[in-house]
């Protein structure tokens, strides 16, 4: 592992990637798409504890504290509220929820939650097959 000069945070793309292949221990067998997913999985793990808004493919948007993410990018949120509660009262008595990764359209991140340089770099390296 090495740290790139000029990065503000003490985490390199190598750490992200190694942390996830280390768990799975099957780096060689991963397809390119599989690697992409590992990358975003690791990325979302960094965001645990932050407030995010998850927009679903049925237009429902739920804001909450990111509690956990798994390999399918299923998301668990705590202390949730629906963005337009007047229009969507369907989840008024739900405060913690599990969102299936397959229905997520967008995840809106906190402004300080994304380091564009690191992400750019990591996705390019993945695309090169590095």
């Amino acid at each position: 592992m090495y740290l790139r000069p000029g990065l503000s945070r003490g985490i390199s793309t190598d750490t992200w990637f190694e942390s996830c292949v280390g768990e799975e221990g099957r780096k060689e067998s991963l397809s390119w798409i599989g690697k992409q997913r590992e990358l975003f999985f690791s990325y979302f793990k960094e965001l645990v504890g932050k407030e995010v808004t998850v927009e679903l493919k049925n237009d429902l948007a739920i804001t909450g504290i990111l509690h956990s993410v798994d390999q399918y990018l299923n998301i668990k949120l705590e202390n949730t509220r629906v963005v337009d509660e007047a229009k969507y009262p369907h989840m008024l008595s739900v405060k913690n929820c599990f969102i299936r990764g397959s229905v997520v359209r967008y995840v809106q991140l906190p402004p300080d939650g994304v380091d564009v340089d690191i992400l750019h770099d990591a996705t390019r390296r993945e695309a090169r097959g590095a």
Partner: protein, 98 residues
């Protein structure tokens, strides 16, 4: 940290499921698997409409296939008992469009 991602913590609790076709089903979670297939006991569907309050349709024991599941929410019993479903009006949720 990002460990407890599954639905273990919700087993034997009342949950509110939103399915991909926009239905809202409430019941007690008895089991689940990797694919988010769910076993729901004592379940009922809550049908939302703009013309009348929420209608509850009894379903009993159901298995929901993971493919059709959008959201699984932990139902806060206290918040839920304070809800006046008969006066709640809303459009039904849209279906998920992939």
């Amino acid at each position: 940290m990002a460990t407890d991602t599954g639905l273990e913590s919700l087993v034997d609790q009342t949950i509110s499921v939103i399915t991909n076709d926009g239905r809202n089903i409430v019941g007690v979670l008895r089991g689940f698997d990797q694919a988010t297939n769910l076993i729901l006991d004592e379940s009922h569907e809550r049908v939302y409409s703009t013309k009348a309050g929420v209608e509850q349709v009894v379903l009993g024991l159901h298995i929901i296939r993971g493919d059709n599941i959008g959201v699984v929410g932990e139902l806060d019993e206290e918040l839920d008992s304070n809800l006046d479903l008969s006066s709640l009006r809303a459009h039904p949720l849209k279906a998920v469009q992939h």
